[in-house]
Each structure stands twice: as structure tokens, then as C-alpha cells.
């Protein structure tokens, strides 16, 4: 179980998060939504261990996140950042390989790397210079890297967590759906997913639980149907739109088909 308890974060005299608590049960996809500056990415980074909270704590399997060694944590939690730069022209497969632990790889490294690239549809690009790929393709390389990171550590019965910070940025429609499918499959296999998504339609499609943040506080939490309401759109997003219902999922205009 992955739990954030009463997290606050202040930076530069400004409160970014104010007493947020959140649990990520294994087997579910949790999606953070909210307007710009609501604190979504900050919450994700704090829960991922990339940023210390000013107050509160994050517990993973009952142990404070600060007490985990980076390598140990990397085996059960991986993070796809908003945008990952690459300082030098590494080959695609070398970038994916950066997700492998130094010791104790579950499967032959080459097979893991090939699997990761296969999953994101970049098997043909293994030998290419990663910095020459398009933004969306690079994002998929990093997705392969973080998936390989979770798969590389031998199974020990503990749930693996996948963190996705605005993962669909730069991806075309087909790959946005692929990404959501990967997230859903990860949850079905018993893992936990925490994603920040801007697109409420995508959020409604993929989430088991949606957590809406505004001004650093949780303003709504629950199933997509319970959270994505006309009230949320007007009060939190300040837009005058109606929520619609189709095939058991809610959606916000415009939607195709």
C-alpha cells in the first residue's frame, strides 16, 4: 500500500499543497485532475519521492519513503516524468537499459529491453540515436524505460507502482490510448497507478478513482461519475460545460463517435 498522510508543501512563501491525504490501493488506477497550479504534479513528485514534503509523510509498505534507498525504491516504483531530457545522444536501447538495476535483474537484460520497446511500438528504433526521435517517440522510449524498471526486479509479492506525470503530452491519439491501456493492464495485474491527466475524457476512461485538486487541496474524490460533474467544471475549472454520459462512462464535450 502506498499512502500519503496529510502532505503540505510550501515553496517561496506560497502554499502549493495543503494537507492532502491519498491512498493508492494495488489494482487500481488513480488519476489526479485539476486546473493549472492545483498542485497535481507536486503531489505526484512528493509521492514518488522526488520532492520532500514540508509537512506530512509518505508511507510505502508501511515504511517512510525517506527511509528507502533509491535503488530499492526503484524496484517497486517507477516514474514517467512530464518531459525527460537527454544530455547526450544515447541509443534508444541504451536509454531503456538505464531502467535496469545494477544487480539482480529478473530476466536477461536484452530480453527485457526488447520487451519494453515492443510494448511501446518502438522495436525497430532500438539502435537509433534517441535525441533524433520526435518528442512523442522519446516519451515512448522513456515509457519503455520505466516499464522495464518495474519488470526487472524479481517478483516478491509486493505491488509495483507506476507514476505517470501528464504522460499523454506529445503523444498522438493512438499512443494516448496505448498508454492508457498499459496503465489499465498494469493495474489489472495487481499494480498501482498514479497519473496526472489534463484531459478529463481520458481520465474518465482510465481511472478507477479520480482525485480533483484545486489550490493545493482535494476538492473531490471518487469514481469518474462521482467526480466529473457539472459542479466540478463550473466551480473548479470555471468553464460553462455540461457533462454527458455514454456507454457507462462520463465525458465532456467535444467527443467523437
Amino acid at each position: 500500500m502506498y499512502v500519503a498522510e496529510d502532505i503540505s508543501r510550501r515553496a517561496g512563501g506560497k502554499t502549493i499543497l495543503d494537507g492532502v491525504s491519498l491512498a493508492l490501493p494495488p489494482g487500481t488506477v488513480t488519476v489526479l485532475v485539476g486546473p493549472n497550479g492545483a498542485g497535481k504534479s507536486t503531489l505526484l513528485r512528493i509521492m514518488a519521492g522526488g520532492l520532500p514534503p514540508s509537512r506530512g509523510r509518505v508511507l510505502l509498505h508501511g515504511r517512510d519513503l525517506a527511509a528507502w534507498r533509491p535503488a530499492e525504491l526503484a524496484g517497486i516504483r517507477s516514474v514517467l516524468s512530464q518531459s525527460t531530457g537527454l544530455a547526450f545522444g544515447f541509443r534508444v536501447e541504451d536509454v531503456v537499459r538505464m531502467g535496469l538495476p545494477r544487480h539482480g535483474v529478473a530476466e536477461p537484460p536484452a530480453a527485457l529491453v526488447a520487451w519494453g520497446l515492443e510494448v511501446v511500438g518502438l522495436a525497430d528504433a532500438a539502435g537509433r540515436d534517441c535525441t533524433t526521435l520526435s518528442g512523442g517517440e522519446q516519451q515512448r522510449v522513456h515509457l519503455a524505460r520505466v516499464l522495464v524498471q518495474l519488470k526487472a526486479t524479481p517478483a516478491d509479492g509486493r505491488a509495483r507502482y507506476l507514476f505517470l506525470d501528464e504522460p499523454t503530452t506529445g503523444l498522438d491519439l493512438a499512443h494516448q490510448l496505448l498508454l492508457l491501456d498499459i496503465a489499465r493492464r498494469h493495474a489489472r495485474a495487481g499494480g498501482g497507478v498514479l497519473a496526472v491527466l489534463h484531459d478529463l475524457n481520458l481520465a474518465a476512461q482510465v481511472a478507477d478513482t479520480i482525485v480533483a485538486l484545486d489550490g493545493g487541496r482535494v476538492v473531490a474524490e471518487g469514481t469518474p461519475e462521482a467526480v466529473i460533474t457539472d459542479r466540478l467544471l463550473t466551480q473548479v475549472y470555471g468553464v460553462d460545460l455540461r457533462v454527458n454520459q455514454a456507454s457507462a462512462r462520463v465525458f465532456v464535450l467535444p467527443v467523437a463517435g
Binding site: P70, A74, R102, A126
Partner: protein, 358 residues
């Protein structure tokens, strides 16, 4: 599976074919460069005679034979060894610094680390004598240790100035480096100006670098520093590779980022301190060599660090041969030769990056 599997079939980190080949080739080039360096000078010695003397001692007993032996063993061999060690240490320190800053423009000579080491070394020469008595047997190490501490302090200051929220701004590093280089250069100049010490007479030695006056003592002085860096740096390879993703993502991937950065700073200071103590500031060399290696072998530090060590040894040996023969009997400061090659390369790198990023 497709050929993806075949390409990926090499074990990570070992890359036996490519790794072995690259090491063997650069080692071969380094040996040839050393033979050239041993043979070329006011008195030429043929490569076969160099080899015969190296492995069999003095050949023959004429005055010429003895003279050649003295030239080889007392002048050229220490100088060549010094060039190789300083070249290795400088190149590897440059490669580590670039990995640390995640930018191919990082060079200890350009951003003031070498200048800081040179200032500390000059301080030791002027004021260290009074300390030397109390240090006893350690006095010998005073010079390189001062240079090491100077380099360490300078790298630390640069990191401190340029790091905000775990993100190191390369532009700030480069600009701060300009300020620090100017300041430490001025201080070194002032020391040289007020000092009557014989060793400090030559300001150009510290600021432009030279291997003139190479002795076995100097070789033994730099040897532990160069050896520690060249043998120790590969342990940082995985961390430096992953740092290319940025500090946050490297940490998410399981790298102990702060520890890696501290060790990298230490490695740079060790290499630069040792090299500067015996040769002054040889600018742009730490930028040029890793870049050439990256062009031919890719950016992976597993290959970059050991190959840069060998290529650095080879190239600085060649540069030194050039520096001492082109204007013979006068000798060019070595830093002029390396800057003449390295500075245009830095400009070219800058222009290429501007084109890429628009």
C-alpha cells in the same frame, strides 16, 4: 524476435567486442605516440634503438650511446610519462565533469577548476615552505594536495552557485566559471608578481601549462592521482550515464544522485589537482578528448571513461611533441597548442547545439 533482440544481445556494461577493440586501438595509438615522443627532439633516436634501450639498457659504450641513454632515461622518458599521465587525468576529469554537468561543454580548464587548482598550487609554493617543516615526510605531497583542494573548492563553489532545486544550470556554471577563472588568474598573477620564488617566475607555466622540466619526481607526484582517477572513475559510469536523464529521473531510476555527484566532484578535483600541480593549466584538453571519443564510440561512460584515459595519454603526448619541436629550440607552452585545437572545437560545439535547439 526481430533483430532488436540480436542488437540487444550483448551483456550490459561489457560489450566485449566493441569495448575490447576500442581499448586495443587507443592503447596502440598511445604506444606509437610514446615511441614518437621518445625518439623526437634535438637529438633524434630511431624507434628500434628506443625499444632496444627500453628493454635492454644502454646499447654500446661510445659517448654517443651514453648520451642517447641519458637523453632517453633522464629527459624523454619522464617527459613522455608525464604527458601520458597528465593527459589521462585531464581527459578523464573532463569526461566526468561533462557527465556531471550533463553538457559536453564542461571542461575544468574552461570553467575555472584548473585555475583554482593553479592558484592553490602557487599559494603552496609561496607560503607552504613554512608549513613544510612541520609536515615532515608529507611535504612532498603539499603541492599536489594544495592543487587538489583548490580544484575541489572551485568545483564546490561552482556547484553551489549553479544548483537550484537539484537542477544545475550549465549556463550559470559557464558564466560563474568565467568570473572565477578571471579572479583566480588575477590572484595567481599577483602572487607571481610579488613572489621572488624561482619556481614562480614563469607565470606562463601556471596559466598556459607546460611539461617542460619534467622529472621522475614529478611523474611520481602525479602518478597516484592519475591512477586513482583512471581506475576509480569507471565505478561512476552507470551513475553518469543515468544522470543524462536529469537528476530527478536518475533518482527515480534508482541512482543515489547526491552520492554520485559528490564522487564525481571528488574525481574531477583529484584529476585536475594532480595534473595542474605538475603541468599548470592545460586548457580545453579535457573538452576535446571526450568529445572525440563520443563522436566515434557514442556517449556511454562505460566506454568513454577508459578510452578517454588512453586517448588523452596519446593526444597530450603528441601535442607535447608538437609544442617542443615546432619552434625549436624554443618551446611553446603546451596550453597554447591544446587551446588552439580545443577552443575552435568548443565554438563548433556551441554552434551545433544552437542549430539543434534553435
Amino acid at each position: 524476435m526481430t533483430d532488436t533482440a540480436a542488437v540487444g544481445a550483448r551483456p550490459p556494461g561489457l560489450l566485449p567486442g566493441r569495448f575490447g577493440l576500442a581499448i586495443a586501438c587507443t592503447a596502440g595509438i598511445a604506444v606509437v605516440a610514446a615511441l614518437v615522443s621518445l625518439g623526437v627532439g634535438p637529438v633524434g633516436i630511431a624507434p628500434d634503438r628506443v625499444l632496444a634501450m627500453l628493454f635492454g639498457g644502454v646499447q654500446g659504450d661510445t659517448a654517443t650511446d651514453l648520451r642517447d641513454a641519458v637523453i632517453l632515461f633522464d629527459i624523454r622518458l619522464p617527459r613522455t610519462a608525464l604527458a601520458a599521465l597528465v593527459g589521462s587525468a585531464t581527459a578523464v576529469a573532463g569526461a566526468v565533469m561533462q557527465g556531471l554537468l550533463r553538457n559536453p561543454l564542461g571542461d575544468p580548464g574552461v570553467i575555472g577548476v584548473s585555475a583554482g587548482a593553479a592558484l592553490a598550487a602557487a599559494l603552496w609554493i609561496v607560503f607552504g615552505a613554512s608549513l613544510a617543516a612541520t609536515l615532515g615526510g608529507w611535504a612532498e605531497l603539499g603541492l599536489p594536495l594544495s592543487a587538489f583542494l583548490g580544484g575541489l573548492a572551485m568545483t564546490g563553489i561552482l556547484q553551489l552557485v549553479a544548483t537550484r532545486d537539484g537542477h544545475t544550470s550549465v549556463v550559470t556554471v559557464l558564466l560563474a566559471g568565467i568570473a572565477l577563472t578571471g579572479f583566480t588568474g588575477a590572484m595567481t598573477g599577483l602572487l607571481v608578481f610579488v613572489s621572488s620564488d624561482q619556481q614562480l617566475r614563469d607565470f606562463t607555466f601556471w596559466m598556459l601549462g607546460s611539461l617542460g622540466g619534467a622529472t621522475w619526481d614529478k611523474v611520481m607526484l602525479v602518478l597516484p592521482f592519475a591512477a586513482a582517477l583512471v581506475l576509480g572513475a569507471p565505478a561512476l559510469a552507470r551513475g553518469l550515464d543515468t544522470l543524462a536523464l536529469g537528476e530527478a529521473d536518475a533518482a527515480y531510476a534508482g541512482i543515489a544522485v547526491e552520492r554520485t555527484k559528490r564522487l564525481a566532484v571528488l574525481a574531477v578535483a583529484v584529476g585536475v589537482g594532480g595534473a595542474v600541480a605538475v603541468s599548470g593549466v592545460i586548457a580545453f584538453f579535457g573538452l576535446t578528448v571526450p568529445h572525440l571519443v563520443r563522436l566515434s564510440l557514442g556517449p556511454s561512460h562505460r566506454l568513454l571513461l577508459p578510452v578517454s584515459a588512453l586517448a588523452g595519454a596519446a593526444l597530450l603526448t603528441v601535442a607535447d611533441v608538437f609544442a617542443r619541436t615546432v619552434a625549436a629550440p624554443a618551446e611553446l607552452p603546451l596550453g597554447i597548442v591544446t587551446s588552439a585545437v580545443g577552443a575552435p572545437m568548443m565554438l563548433w560545439l556551441l554552434m551545433r547545439r544552437l542549430r539543434i535547439t534553435g
